[in-house]
Symmetry: C2
Subunit: 328 residues, 2 copies
C-alpha cells in the first residue's frame, strides 16, 4: 500500500519526473519583449495552462494514480476538487483504465464540470459554502472501497506538481536566465510546495513567494504567524481554483521552510493579469491561475531590474466570464 | 549584397534554423485528449501564436535582417504588412539595432499597429482597398535608401518561416507521431512554402495542404489551375492576416511542387476554430491563424483515424473582436 502522508522531497520529485516523462507535457516558459520593456524587468511565464487538462493538476494526479496497486486500480479512485484536480484525476484515470468518482462544488465553472465528465468520470456535487467536502468525501470513499486522492495533502500529488519546478530550473538555464524571484499560485499549497522544493535544490538563489486572492490569503497569514491559519468564512473570490480554507497538513511544513513570503492580490488585479496574458502571451489564463502574474505586475514584491518567474497554473475559464474580463 | 529572389531550399531552411537558434522560440506542438476523442483523429496544433510577436513572422524577419550588410543595417529597413510581418520586422530590427519603417493598411487591427510602434518602428498607413502597397513601398524604400523586406517573396523570409516545418518534424518524432496531413494557413504562401519544403525532406509521407478564407483562396485556385491566379477584388474577410491578392512569385513555384492541394474555410468556420482553440488548447488564435484548424475541424480533407497537424500561425487579435467570437 502506498503511503500518501509522507513529506515530499527533492528525490520524490525526481522520481515523479521520471514517471511523467513522455506523459505530462513540458510546458513552455514564455517571455514577452514588449512586456519586459513595459515593466522594467525580465518576466518569464510558466504556462501550465498548456498542460494536459489545462492545469498543472494532471502532473500530481497521474503520478499518484499510476502508482496504485492492482487492487486499488480495480476498485477505483475518488477525489474532491474545485475543478482542476478533478480533470487531472479524470484524465489520468481514463488513461490508466481506472474508474473515477469526483465530488465537485455545485458552483464549479461549467467548463470544468463538463470536461471532468468528458474524461469519463462520475461527478457528484455539493454546496461548498455549507458542506464539508472532506467529510462527504471520506464517507463516499469508505463506503465504496475507493482510494481517496486528495488534491494537495498527498505525497505523490505534491511530488508530481513539483516537476513544474524542475522544468522551470532547466528552462531558466536553457534561456540564459537566473531567476531572482518565482511566484506561484497557492490554494492548498501542493504546487508551490513541490515547485519550491525543486527550486531550492536546482536554483537556490531564487526566492519563492506564494500568491493568493484577497480573503483567501491563508498561506500568507500562516507563513507570517508560523502556523496554519484558516481564512475567515463568508467571502467569495473570482479565483475559484484556489479558494481553499487553509494550508495543507503536508504542504505547509514544506512551504514554511522553503518560501520567502506570501503575496495577496485583489480579484481586479487578477483580471488585469488575465488581460496581460491575453495581450502579451496569447495565453488563456483562469482567475486563480493568474494571481502570480498579478502579484508581479502590481509589484507586490519589488521586481525592477530583476528576473522573475510567474507560474500560470491553469486556463479553465468559462468563455462568458473570460469575455467579461477582457472587456475590462 | 544578399540575393533576396533566390528560391528557398531545404539547405537554406537548415541555415535559417542555425541562425535562429536561441533567438526564435521553439513553439509547442499541442494535443488535446478531449478534442481527439471528439473528432476521432489525433490532432496536433503547432502554436506559432506563442512565437515572439505572437506569430511565425518573427522567424523570417529575423533571419533576413540579421544577414544584412553593415551598410544596409545602417540605412534601415522598410516593410509593408497587414500586421504580423510588421511586428516581426519591428522586433527583429529593435533587437539588431536597425531603424524600421513599416507601411500598414489603415484598417489594421489596433493591437498590431500598437505593437509595431511599441517595438520602435515608424508606422505609415495606406488604404488597402484602393492603393497598392507594392508601389507605395517601392517608392518610400527607394527615396530613403531603405532595404525592402517583403513579407513572403524573399528567400531568407521563406527560409526562416520554414524552420516551423523542421520543428514540426522533430516534435512529431518526440511525440511518437507520424503525420498523415499538415495544414497551414496561406496568405502569400511564405510559411507554407518553407514548412512544406522542410516536411518534404523530413516527413515525406505527410501531405501538406494550404488553408485560406473564402474569397481569398488564391492559392487553392492557383494550385488547381497550375498557375498564379488573383482573387476577385471587392471582398472582405475577418482573416486580416491572410487576405493577400495572389500567391507570391517565389512562393508559388515551391507550393506548386510540394502541396497536395488547397482548402477553403468560411469566416464562420474560422470563428468556430478560434473557440475550439480557447476550449481545448487555452490558446488565443487570431482569425487568419485559425483557418488550418478550421479546415481540419470541418473535414475539408478527411481526417477520421488520421494524425493531422494544424499550424496556428498567429494570435494577434483585438480583445473586442475576440469577445464577439467567443460569444459565438
Amino acid at each position: 500500500m502506498l503511503e500518501f502522508n509522507k513529506a515530499p522531497t527533492y528525490q520524490s520529485i525526481l522520481e515523479a519526473a521520471q514517471n511523467l516523462r513522455g506523459i505530462a507535457r513540458k510546458t513552455p516558459l514564455l517571455e514577452s519583449h514588449a512586456l519586459n520593456k513595459e515593466i522594467g524587468a525580465r518576466l518569464l511565464l510558466k504556462c501550465e495552462t498548456l498542460q494536459h487538462t489545462g492545469s498543472f493538476k494532471f502532473r500530481g494526479a497521474y503520478n499518484t494514480l499510476s502508482r496504485l496497486s492492482p487492487d486499488q486500480k480495480k476498485n477505483g479512485v475518488f477525489a474532491y476538487s474545485s475543478g482542476n484536480h478533478a480533470q487531472g484525476v479524470a484524465l489520468s484515470a481514463q488513461m490508466l483504465g481506472i474508474r473515477a468518482t469526483i465530488l465537485m462544488p455545485e458552483d464549479t465553472p461549467q467548463i470544468k464540470m463538463d470536461n471532468t465528465r468528458g474524461y469519463g468520470a462520475k461527478v457528484i456535487t455539493y454546496d461548498r459554502y455549507t458542506e464539508s467536502r472532506e467529510e462527504i468525501g471520506r464517507k463516499i470513499a469508505d463506503e465504496n472501497g475507493l482510494t481517496l486522492v486528495k488534491p494537495y495533502d498527498n505525497h505523490f500529488v505534491i511530488s508530481g506538481q513539483g516537476t513544474t519546478g524542475i522544468e522551470i530550473a532547466e528552462q531558466l538555464i536553457e534561456q540564459n536566465a537566473s531567476a531572482d524571484i518565482c511566484v506561484c499560485p497557492a490554494g492548498g499549497g501542493g504546487l508551490i510546495a513541490g515547485a519550491s522544493l525543486a527550486l531550492q535544490e536546482l536554483s537556490p538563489s531564487t526566492k519563492v513567494y506564494s500568491a493568493e486572492p484577497e480573503y483567501f490569503d491563508d498561506t500568507k497569514i500562516s507563513l507570517e504567524r508560523g502556523t496554519r491559519v484558516a481564512n475567515a468564512s463568508g467571502n467569495k473570490s473570482i479565483c475559484d481554483a484556489i479558494v481553499t480554507p487553509m494550508p495543507g497538513e503536508i504542504t505547509f511544513p514544506v512551504n514554511k521552510k522553503t518560501l520567502s513570503g506570501g503575496l495577496m492580490v485583489t480579484d481586479s488585479e487578477a483580471k488585469s493579469a488575465i488581460r496581460a496574458a491575453f495581450h502579451h502571451f496569447k495565453c488563456v489564463v483562469e482567475p486563480g491561475g493568474a494571481v502570480a502574474l498579478a502579484a508581479l505586475l502590481t509589484n507586490k514584491v519589488d521586481i525592477k531590474g530583476k528576473t522573475v518567474v510567474a507560474v500560470a497554473s491553469g486556463g479553465n475559464v468559462d468563455p462568458g466570464l473570460y469575455r467579461e474580463i477582457l472587456a475590462g
